[in-house]
């Protein structure tokens, strides 16, 4: 028995290594090394377009942490992420459960419909919503007027435009989350529901005591992934507020800030430092989420 176990362990080990080694080599080349280089550059004064560089320690970090624009971008990003993630996860779960329960016919069709926003490119999607929120021609203001409210200038005010940006995000993300939740719901063993039925459990009891605990790993996955995705929000915020047609400021997010430092001001050092700060924030919050879900 002991020998068999060792043999099994050995073959397992070979299997693991045969998978892990090539993948880790690839990761090293196309992820770890470039990211470490970025980390390294964050301690230098380095122009993106000039070869020379000089070591300046933490100066890039102190610069961006003191930069009002950075703080503003950070706050904007956290705001967008919080609302987009929470609502798109809740809506995604709700939609997935409705589709899975299928109390009326044709749910397959509606599921396909709900998935379409996911496959539309971000730039046209955002422009489409921008049209709907347009002050002068937008359908949203038209509806507001019909019900007797005044038009709202959705786009040109930094404190209002965050809502259309959140809505675009939710619109695109909820179908995505729905699909992943759906897979999770499918995987919940039927026996659990069957035995609960025998015990006479109500629907909400089944939801609370069976479904939600069972899909916990998937929920954690979706929350973490959505969060990581939204903290890198860029396109919808940029497209919604840029172009000569727009007035008011561009709604800056962290990635826009990084982008601007790098591609506009050519300051590789600061762009890298800002990326590292972003990494730390995401890492801490992710770790916190994972911790939370373990209890």
């Amino acid at each position: 028995m002991n020998i068999l176990k060792n043999k099994q362990q050995r073959t397992d080990f070979i299997f693991v290594m045969s998978v892990l080694i090539p993948i880790m080599v690839l990761f090293t080349i196309i992820r770890f090394i470039p990211i470490l280089q970025t980390f390294g550059v964050s301690f230098f004064k380095k122009s993106m377009i000039r070869p020379e560089r000089s070591f300046i320690g933490f100066e890039n970090y102190t610069y961006i942490l003191k930069d009002k624009e950075f703080i503003r971008s950070l706050m904007n990003t956290l705001f967008i992420s919080f609302f987009s993630v929470t609502l798109s996860v809740v809506f995604g779960l709700f939609l997935a459960m409705q589709v899975n329960n299928a109390i009326i016919k044709g749910m397959k069709f509606w599921q396909a419909v709900l998935f379409i926003p996911v496959i539309v490119s971000m730039v046209p999607s955002t422009l489409m919503w921008k049209m709907l929120f347009d002050y002068n021609f937008g359908v949203v203001n038209y509806v507001l007027n019909v019900i007797g409210l005044r038009s709202i200038d959705w786009i040109n005010n930094e404190s209002i435009v965050r809502w259309p940006i959140v809505i675009v995000g939710i619109w695109k993300e909820m179908g995505y989350n729905m699909m992943i939740f759906f897979v999770g719901l499918k995987a919940v063993p039927h026996e659990l529901y069957e035995s609960a039925d025998i015990d006479g459990a109500t629907k909400s009891q089944k939801l609370w005591y069976i479904t939600l605990p069972q899909i916990k790993p998937i929920t954690l996955f979706i929350t973490v992934m959505s969060f990581i995705k939204f903290i890198k929000v860029f396109t919808q915020a940029f497209v919604m507020t840029s172009g000569s047609q727009s007035s008011g400021n561009i709604f800056k997010t962290l990635v826009y800030y990084i982008y601007q430092q790098g591609f506009t001001f050519h300051s590789m050092g600061r762009a890298s430092a800002a990326s590292m700060v972003l990494l730390i924030i995401v890492f801490v919050l992710t770790w916190f989420q994972m911790r939370l879900s373990k209890d």
């Binding site: 000039r50 002068n136 047609q245 008011g248 400021n249 561009i250 591609f263 001001f265």
Partner: protein, 439 residues
């Protein structure tokens, strides 16, 4: 199982083929040459393809094609930032002067040959400023443009205005008369379309030409003690008057607001009466609003002077471009910037004819002509080559909308002064950033 194997083989095949196909397509030994040119101005592509290149091929039969690769400006700048340092460059690049500056000072372009300089010498002297760095010249202007005003004639007639305004005060008075509101007081049609946001460098460019230049000041000012170094040029009465004028247009005369439709699109759809833009916007106005009855006019006289900028797209030969093609690339630039080709460019694109010997107004369509007839008192301002310019522009353009949203400033002279000083500090910081700052 066999199906799967075939599928796998197919994938491997797809992955491997490009390895062979993707290699360099330059055929060794053959004398045929293909030049490449990158640009970011859509309206220029047709001109290169249909006018310059055919003429060039006639002169140099060994050239099979001059391929123009157009990219929208926001993509173009990313490509520049990566391609120039890595050396993956075309034979010729067309870049707007201020975008090219950081690359020019970093040494990514070849200095002009005597032949190219000879062309430069025949052009308007102001243009030389945009390509001169440390005594050498880099690149030749291929498409200069200035700023002018577009007026909607029907709206002017409706408001009883018979003459095109010639001073900024008259412009504002006319704009007030032409502003239209709906029952709720919301602006349906602005009297003058103001640039209040969007791409930051555009915002500050408009503030520069409409606010600062007519008030006799500039974004920058060269240091008197250290030539080649700069500081903000508007922390003074001129800057104060510029910002005050913007605020008054918004909150005293109320000719525009943040929510209205803006710019060329608004003008083409008759949602604004006056718009300020470069001449090539005319092409777009004609396409989107063929029935708009408009005329162009030069920049009006401001508090201190009449002024416009002259910005230009230049053609550069990158330092790392294929050596074998460099001579032909220069010949192409010579041809494209020649007087004959520029005649054509001026007609088709409503460009500004760069040659001193030619009247810039003589080539454009009638309703654009007044905008090209430069009055004698016109000051033509160009941007000298300096590194911080772009950053200064962006920082200025990002800060402006926030200031312009403060309606209470309009009656607060001290507040305006504070904001002007703040804007100036942003510009000075940008210069300090590039070691170009001096009192």
């Amino acid at each position: 199982m066999r199906k799967k194997l075939l599928f796998l083989l197919l994938i491997v095949a797809i992955m491997v083929t490009p390895l062979f196909a993707g290699g360099d397509s330059e055929k060794a030994g053959s004398k045929e040459v293909k030049l490449t040119l990158w640009n970011s101005s859509q309206t220029m592509v047709e001109w290169y393809d249909e006018v310059v290149t055919p003429a060039f091929k006639e002169m140099y039969p060994e050239v099979t094609d001059v391929e123009v690769l157009y990219l929208p400006i926001q993509d173009f700048v990313k490509k520049l930032a990566v391609a120039l340092p890595s050396g993956d460059v075309p034979d010729i690049m067309e870049i707007e002067d201020s975008w090219a500056t950081p690359y020019l000072t970093a040494g990514y372009f070849d200095p002009n040959t005597p032949e190219l300089n000879r062309i430069l010498d025949q052009m308007r002297p102001e243009l030389k400023n945009t390509v001169t760095y440390k005594g050498k010249t880099y690149g030749v202007p291929v498409a200069p443009f200035h700023e002018l005003f577009f007026y909607n004639l029907d709206m002017m007639a409706e408001a009883g205005i018979t003459e095109i305004p010639d001073t900024m005060d008259e412009v504002i008075q006319a704009a007030v008369k032409m502003t239209k509101r709906d029952a709720t007081g919301k602006i349906e049609r602005s009297g003058f379309s103001m640039r209040l946001g969007g791409n930051p460098s555009g915002t500050s460019q408009k503030f520069w030409v409409l606010g600062l230049l007519p008030n006799g000041v500039d974004i920058w000012e060269e240091s008197k003690t250290q030539p080649g170094k700069y500081h903000a040029g508007f922390d003074n009465e001129g800057g104060y008057n510029a910002l005050k004028m913007y605020l008054e247009m918004l909150y005293k005369y109320e000719v525009d607001d943040f929510a209205s439709m803006k710019d060329t699109e608004a003008f083409a759809k008759e949602r604004t009466a006056i718009n300020m833009r470069e001449p090539s916007a005319a092409v777009s106005i004609e396409r989107q609003g063929p029935n708009v009855n408009w005329v162009a006019a030069p920049m009006p006289v401001g508090n201190v002077r009449r002024a416009t900028f002259l910005i230009t797209l230049n053609l550069y030969v990158p330092k790392d471009s294929p050596k074998a093609n460099k001579d032909l690339a220069r010949k192409y630039i010579e041809l494209a910037t020649s007087e004959k080709m520029q005649d054509n460019n001026a007609i088709n694109r409503a460009g500004f004819h760069p040659y001193t010997s030619v009247d810039p107004a003589s080539f454009v369509q009638d309703r654009l002509k007044p905008g090209f007839a430069m009055p004698d008192d016109m000051h033509i301002i160009t941007v000298p080559v300096h590194n911080a310019y772009d950053m200064a522009q962006v920082k200025l353009g990002e800060a402006l909308p926030n200031i312009l949203k403060k309606a209470e400033l309009v009656n607060d002279p001290e507040g305006i002064k504070r904001e002007v000083a703040y804007l100036a500090s942003l510009v000075n910081d940008a210069y300090a950033e590039f070691d170009e700052y001096a009192e």
